[in-house]
Symmetry: C2
Subunit: 195 residues, 2 copies
């Protein structure tokens, strides 16, 4: 997505260890017009697949999921992250799907929110190692929900998450794939795959 890449070039800040901060427009502070056009782009890519639900993870995926959901006119379900050892006050323990991939945060979705009748589009803002998405996809498989695709706003192409997910047959589309990130040099991947 050209506008997204241009904004990243103009406003992203790269720190040591390939940390890319996009706090002035994509995270912490959100440019709502850009987010709306991102939602429209996900709709363009994934429409016509019978999607009846957008699924994401709190917190930074929520904005993108909502903007996308407006175009699809379907609900958004967001997985919550377990805080500490207790799962959401115990009240839902028997009624919740939960999974933690690779020692990452445990994700929780109440069972009544997802069933085998659902065809979902997964949306998230950032893909790096892919732990979060792997956890989410595991939960979706417990529920029996069909995954029509996965939309990511920014993929760090120099980390393994994207490669692993595509290898596993996930239909992953990232609106910008950063293959190289240095302080004065951000290089995007442009291929037919995932674009």
């Amino acid at each position: 997505m050209k506008e997204l890449e241009e904004r990243i070039i103009a406003q992203a800040r790269v720190y040591p260890d390939h940390i890319i901060r996009m706090d002035s427009f994509l995270d912490h502070q959100l440019d709502i017009g850009l987010l709306d056009r991102i939602g429209a782009e996900f709709f363009r890519i994934f429409s016509g697949r019978g999607i009846n639900k957008i699924v994401t993870v709190e917190a930074s995926g929520i904005a993108y999921a909502c903007m996308t959901a407006r175009y699809f006119d379907v609900p958004v379900v967001f997985a919550k992250k377990a805080k500490g050892d207790s799962i959401e006050g115990g009240l839902y323990q028997a009624e919740t799907y939960s999974y933690s991939y690779n020692g990452g945060p445990t994700l929780l979705i109440a069972k009544e929110r997802l069933t085998a009748r659902d065809t979902v589009l997964v949306i998230d803002d950032l893909l790096a190692k892919g732990d979060t998405l792997h956890s989410l996809l595991e939960i979706l498989s417990y529920a029996g929900a069909k995954v029509a695709g996965v939309g990511v706003v920014v993929e760090k192409g120099f980390q393994e998450g994207g490669r692993l997910l595509r290898q596993e047959g996930v239909d992953l589309h990232s609106l910008a794939i950063i293959d190289q990130a240095e302080e004065r040099n951000i290089r995007f991947r442009h291929t037919s795959e995932g674009q």
Copy 2:
């Protein structure tokens, strides 16, 4: 907001200790059409005040802030919650406003996201004791930002947060104020104040 109250009556579930779950349409699963109309309602209430930024707290305020921001066509800034003892990797320690009200979670906003030139509308989904909103308002005062108003989707009128904030002169509007919540009986407040 009549539609909101009708949905709460129809779909909210009340548990012991006045816990009100709205997981099928306002939290965890979001009815995007309803959220859009909530955003429109906040715009109707607060437009014409020179608002240039919508401010909220992760995670559940984000969806409402985004839908509202679409109507105002202004950015959204969301405060983050400190995870454990370290503040966001230390990188921002000197550059962050932080505050914890009443022993609640420490909220963080990067200093460059808010200045004395900003006129903000604060949006949040739920108001009970008011700890989160008090923390947020404290941070906004550090930044010197003007607070044009506070919009809340659901206020638990039987808890003190709303009363305290109004007493402090905050221009607080809640789209639904629940004064009584029992298993088969939810009663809303209908006054000119805050509606």
